[in-house]
């Protein structure tokens, strides 16, 4: 699948944003993190900013962005529509929570309800995003039990690493949060390795034989219906060389998991402001690494239409 930057950024940014929002909603709403105006403002701005930028970026993927509003109508069947509905709906409790927790400085009561609802919305939105991919049968690498948990784990991972950044920058770092972020990063790593391992061993039952209905033996494409690349090939015929892919997997692991984990451990050991600096660096590297991971998520996904083209 063609790794369009708009979608790569969208899923990565909203994942991190919803992860952070959920943590703020739960921990802030229930009072585990005390309301503090600048902390709250920056935290909420970061979460909602990532979500907003991601959503905005996603419209760059549309042929007719001015009609994007129509996407809210088909929630009964379409995961993409549900994502739209969930993402927008989440803004309501998130907004209320922001007002209550940041501006009014409250927690508990209705602020807690709003916070928990925002967190639930965030989780739901990430689920819908994951399900968009997980539901696509033509792409075996996506249509697997690894996809939905991956989206949830990565949202939690990037969200917690960002949450840690917030705490650290404001000098209210928590060893607990650091540990959680570290564990989630390791979990993300493990999950990604398991996913790759699964995908690499995938025996796809859909073949050029079933695609053409020509039973037995081999089916080789000898001529395309057109000389130049068409929409299908540009969108779904993306190919990545095995060598290139292996290299990018290593880069993704180093940036998204290995270095952030190491930095988080360093932050665990070092005092402020060094711990804060390490935390910020961990988040930045992880975000970059997740962009690479997401790019690979697309690039390594093989759509059945490529069978018709011998790709």
């Amino acid at each position: 699948m063609h790794p369009a930057f708009s979608v790569v950024f969208f899923t990565t940014a909203t994942g991190a944003g919803y992860g952070l929002l959920a943590l703020l909603g739960v921990l802030g709403g229930l009072g585990f993190v005390q309301p503090e105006i600048w902390f709250g403002l920056v935290g909420m701005a970061l979460a909602l900013g990532l979500i907003g930028a991601g959503l905005l970026s996603s419209t760059g993927h549309l042929g007719r962005p001015e009609r994007a509003w129509r996407a809210f109508s088909q929630w009964s069947s379409s995961w993409l529509s549900r994502e739209g509905v969930a993402s927008v709906a989440t803004f309501i409790p998130a907004g209320l929570f922001g007002i209550g927790w940041v501006l009014l400085g409250g927690s508990g009561g209705w602020v807690a309800v709003a916070g928990l609802l925002a967190a639930a919305g965030a989780v739901a939105t990430v689920c819908t995003t994951g399900m968009i991919y997980a539901s696509l049968k033509p792409i075996a690498q996506w249509h697997s039990r690894y996809t939905l948990p991956a989206y949830l784990i990565f949202a939690a991972m990037t969200g917690s690493v960002l949450f840690n950044v917030l705490l650290q920058v404001f000098g209210i770092g928590s060893k607990g949060v650091l540990i959680v972020a570290l564990l989630l990063t390791l979990l993300g790593w493990g999950w990604k390795l398991a996913t790759w391992r699964y995908n690499d061993r995938l025996e796809i039952t859909t073949t050029a034989n079933t695609a053409t209905g020509l039973a037995g033996g081999t089916v080789r494409s000898i001529e395309w219906p057109h000389t130049e690349e068409n929409y299908l090939l540009k969108e779904m015929g993306f190919r990545i060389a095995r060598k290139h892919s292996a290299k990018l997997r290593r880069i993704a692991q180093v940036l998204a998991f290995a270095l952030p984990a190491a930095l988080l451990m360093i932050a665990f050991a070092l005092p402020w402001p060094f711990a804060a600096a390490a935390s910020v660096l961990a988040a930045l590297l992880q975000f970059a690494g997740m962009l690479v991971e997401r790019w690979l998520f697309f690039a390594e996904a093989k759509h059945t239409v490529t069978l018709y083209y011998g790709r």
Partner: protein
């Protein structure tokens, strides 16, 4: 469904409209009944040479869509990939828009626009001077012309013998091989009995020739489950759907076919009764070596061939229906030793050199496969016979209660023709058909009227005596029956610029357009003044040895003048040849013109009856261009050519439409056969009818006459048919047409080579004539096989025309070129493995003539010793309205660059045209090559490259986005 019978080819129950085609009440707002046309114009397609009937739907003054005419005898409602893309041809950005006069050096594309008046004056002055001095200094060659009866007649009236169309580099072997054997041939001359055949063999058909009729026919065979056997080095297109694909080595089909003949003869599986009735199998051949009549037929005092009456033991007229002729043995007639033709056939083909075992290695086909195919042919022909319950009467008046058929049929085309042994291979296929008794019988191969004709049909070519200001005594192209008909002087020097009908190409029924540029450049046999050409891309894909051909077009003599002094070219599009013209006469598209598809030319008959058709303008002209035929008629009038100008010098015909209606070639016979007579009440012969074109238009653009049931088969000897053919003027007398298994005209050339007769070949030509003018078909290796080092050039290289393209025309078509804008070289997997080549590699394809670079694609479906590519995809930058980055000129390639236009020098140092020695047919498919992986930095682009052409003045750049059809919708929705 309506109660009427479904029309057209695609009318099986599973192809009809819904029983209730009322739109359901879906409520989704879809307009299921938009208005899609304001008018329908029925005319004839010209996206290739098949001449299908088309319904052009006009909406808002533009062509909305084109579909097949269901009533049309050629395509019966279907339409091919090219036909549906006609819109894009008609609106092509490569269309010329005004006459052009060269301003820069030839070949650069620098022109200025001029008015028609000036263009016609320039042409008239030039041609007039030629006609006053030496008319043969005009060489007029017309490419893929469908108006040869006009263009040939024009040349004849002008007085130049130097006329031909593209047949010489297309398929003259197929035409001549058939016409000299059975008085007809494949494609325009005949077709398989698709409705009845049970076993169909297809030889060397390169995706086309013809298009829709073969496809419709194959569809019928498939629907009935009849067996299809294809003999072709490539397993694409029609060959892909064969039940049995025989991936033969190119150029060996003749050997394969004669091995089948060997098997059939050996087993006695031939139709003796058929041979006796319809062929010259029983005719006595004089066997007196060294004498002047050796090998000629023994004739009686009337000059009629004789046979040996096996009961009376005496000679009889071979045509005597009461005779009981012998087919074997020898006899003495008039003191001459004679044997029947069939004895010679048996002697030759029973020889072990034609056995399957002898053929297998050369053909690359197992001996067992050859034996199996022979057995299948025999089984179907003799054990699965069919009988139609229709009574008919033969030429001798014998009534037959049924029509008996042997349901084996064959079709062959360019893969057979385009070799230097193609003529004999074509004859071999006809020999095979005739031995099986399957020509013009139910289930067999059937003639299309006006065929069959006498074999050869005559008349002889005109041009022996070329005089200033005098027309030729006949048409420039014809059929020779012996050396006396050749167009050579006493020293043997050819009269024609293309050396057709000379010792180099005696049976050149279609001329040798592919030799004209070289000969004119070399002044061999003489220099010319003006080369006038029409719609043939001779500076590119229609020539062999392209680079040298281009150089010859621009070569100058010591005085700085072009060696070919003046070139007039007419085409509708900016092809690679236009920039080489001095004067360009822009033609119209096929939707803007009148044309006639005439019985005098290449008609659209099918086996069940004759037909002809017209084109007429269905959209308005929007450019300053004129149909070439009307321009030619005007030039004829301006030159005062007899037949084109009246006594007073005024024009005889207003334009081509006027000519089509009013011209009479012989009294009562004109270009169109339908609705003749003042009131349109007759057909075939009759006075000119001023309303004739309208009658055609009213009838869907064509005329067709269905035979009665008793006229449809055995036309070579069917009285009802022969009488009709005489009435129509197809043949002179209602006499049977005798298949010439042994060709006496060819033997006459041999005798000349042996020193007999008044016209004899030059010494150096004698061995060649002796060898190749064999009166019985034989097989010899294609010439290039014998002259190149096969260790060095082990592969055969072929081209095929993609079904969605017509030569170079397709690449200017926005839709068709998307399908193929780069051609690959297809290489067998095993062959590639041996050469360490992988899919997509770039290779040099090298022949003794040069090298060209392209990208390969590995396949299994090809003879392992053969590589092939799609024809005419490679284009020169600056032509056809294509942008500079188009794949055609960057990645596509033209195999023509490496096909020699001449043979290697013989012992005398002489180089012949790279052609069949009998007919002069271009031997495109003889080329031998090797492929070599190119260096890393050489990959990704084709070579050789040629200088980019400048664009003609006032040409709009081709669009970056095409939204054809958007306007129909906008208008439709606005109206709602």
């Amino acid at each position: 469904m309506s109660s009427t019978e479904p029309r057209g080819a695609n009318s099986a129950p599973s192809q009809r409209p819904l029983a209730d085609s009322q739109a359901p009440d879906e409520g989704d707002g879809v307009d299921t009944s938009p208005s899609v046309f304001d008018s329908i114009a029925k005319t004839t397609c010209y996206m290739c040479a098949c001449r299908c009937g088309i319904d052009v739907h006009i909406k808002d003054g533009k062509v909305r869509y084109i579909n097949g005419n269901k009533d049309h005898p050629v395509n019966r409602g279907v339409i091919c990939g090219k036909g549906s893309a006609g819109i894009m041809q008609h609106y092509s950005p490569a269309r010329l828009s005004k006459p052009l006069l060269r301003t820069g050096p030839r070949g650069t594309g620098e022109f200025s626009e001029i008015e028609w008046g000036e263009a016609l004056t320039i042409a008239t002055e030039r041609l007039s001077a030629i006609r006053r001095t030496d008319p043969k200094k005009l060489a007029f060659f017309t490419g893929r012309d469908q108006s040869q009866s006009l263009t040939g007649w024009w040349a004849s009236r002008f007085g130049t013998p130097n006329f031909a169309a593209h047949g010489g580099f297309c398929s003259v072997n197929m035409a001549a091989g058939g016409l000299y054997t059975i008085g007809g041939s494949f494609w325009e001359f005949g077709e398989p009995d698709w409705d009845n055949t049970k076993y169909f063999m297809l030889f060397g058909v390169a995706e086309d020739h013809d298009s829709n009729p073969i496809k419709i026919g194959l569809g019928k065979l498939k629907a009935r489950g009849a067996k299809v056997v294809s003999v072709n080095p490539c397993r694409t297109g029609y060959n892909a759907i064969a039940d049995d694909w025989i991936g033969i080595r190119p150029g060996t089909d003749g050997l394969f076919v004669l091995a089948l003949v060997h098997e059939l003869l050996k087993a006695g599986r031939v139709d003796l009764d058929y041979l006796l009735r319809y062929t010259n199998a029983a005719v006595l051949v004089i066997q007196e070596p060294g004498t002047a009549d050796d090998g000629l037929f023994a004739r009686d005092a009337d000059g009629d061939p004789m046979a040996w009456h096996r009961v009376a033991k005496a000679p009889v007229k071979a045509a005597d229906p009461e005779a009981k002729p012998a087919l074997t043995g020898s006899c003495t007639v008039n003191g001459r030793c004679c044997v029947p033709v069939f004895q010679l056939i048996a002697d030759r083909y029973l020889d072990e050199s034609y056995s399957p075992d002898a053929a297998a290695g050369r053909c690359g086909v197992d001996a067992d496969t050859i034996r199996r195919i022979a057995a299948e042919l025999a089984h179907v022909a003799f054990e699965q016979t069919i009988e139609l319950p229709v009574a008919w009467t033969d030429w001798a008046g014998r009534r037959h209660e049924t029509i008996k058929g042997r349901p084996v049929s064959m079709h062959a085309m360019r893969g057979i023709s385009a070799h230097s042994n193609g003529f004999h291979t074509c004859r071999a296929i006809h020999l095979l058909q005739v031995l099986l008794g399957t020509v013009d019988v139910p289930g067999g191969f059937r003639f299309k009227p006006p065929y069959p004709r006498c074999a050869p049909p005559g008349p002889r070519p005109a041009g022996k005596d070329v005089k200033p200001m005098a027309p030729l005594e006949g048409m420039p192209l014809g059929f020779v029956s012996g050396p006396d008909d050749l167009l050579v002087d006493e020293a043997g020097t050819p009269t024609r610029i293309d050396k057709a009908y000379s010792w180099e190409a005696p049976l050149a029924a279609h001329g040798l357009m592919h030799s004209v540029i070289r000969n004119a450049w070399a002044g061999d046999p003489y220099p010319i003044d003006t080369l006038m050409m029409y719609m043939s891309n001779m500076a590119w894909n229609s020539s062999m040895n392209t680079a040298e051909t281009i150089a010859m077009l621009t070569d100058k003599d010591a005085s700085g003048a072009y060696k070919i002094p003046f070139i007039i070219y007419s085409d509708a599009y900016y092809s690679e040849t236009v920039p080489y013209a001095d004067l360009v006469l822009p033609d119209t598209t096929y939707l803007e013109r009148h044309d006639c598809i005439s019985l005098l030319d290449r008609p659209i008959s099918h086996a069940d009856g004759p037909g002809d058709a017209i084109r007429h303008p269905v959209v308005e002209l929007d450019r300053d261009v004129r149909p070439f035929q009307s321009v030619l008629i005007e030039l004829g009038a301006r030159l005062g050519l007899p037949g084109f100008a009246n006594e007073d010098g005024s024009a005889k015909y207003r334009d081509y439409a006027d000519y089509i209606v009013n011209h009479e070639r012989t009294p009562g016979i004109g270009p169109l056969a339908g609705w003749r007579g003042r009131d349109g009440g007759s057909f075939g012969k009759g006075e000119a009818n001023p309303d004739q074109l309208q009658r055609y238009i009213d009838n869907g653009g064509f005329w067709h006459r269905d035979f009665s049931a008793d006229q449809r088969y055995y036309k070579m000897g069917n009285r009802a048919y022969l009488d009709f053919a005489v009435e129509m003027g197809f043949i002179a007398k209602a006499e049977p047409i005798v298949f010439q298994l042994y060709s006496e005209p060819m033997q006459r050339f041999r005798l000349a080579a042996r020193g007999h007769g008044k016209l004899q070949p030059p010494k150096a030509e004698r061995a060649r004539i002796e060898t190749y003018m064999d009166p019985l078909p034989f097989w010899y290796a294609p010439f290039e096989d014998d002259t190149v080092d096969l260790q060095k050039y082990p592969l055969h290289a072929l081209t095929q025309r993609p079904m969605h393209m017509y030569h170079s025309w397709g690449s200017q078509n926005a839709w068709l070129r998307q399908i193929t804008s780069q051609n690959r070289l297809f290489v067998h997997q095993k062959t590639a493995a041996g050469l360490d080549l992988a899919d997509d590699d770039w290779v040099w394809i090298e022949s003794i003539n040069g090298r060209v670079k392209g990208q390969i694609k590995l396949v299994d479906g090809v003879n392992p010793d053969t590589v092939w590519t799609w024809n005419a995809i490679g284009k020169r930058r600056g032509s056809w309205g294509l942008k500079d980055d188009a794949a055609e000129s960057n990645r596509g390639f033209l195999l023509n660059h490496i096909i020699g236009d001449q043979t290697a020098a013989d012992a005398n140092g002489k180089r012949y045209s790279n052609s069949d020695p009998v007919t002069g047919q271009a031997a495109w498919f003889d080329v031998r090559v090797r492929i070599v992986k190119c260096a890393r930095q050489e990959a990704g682009f084709t070579e050789p490259q040629f200088e980019r052409f400048r664009q003609p003045p006032n040409v709009q750049p081709s669009p970056d986005v095409l939204r054809f059809g958007a306007a129909f919708r906008t208008k439709r929705e606005a109206a709602e």
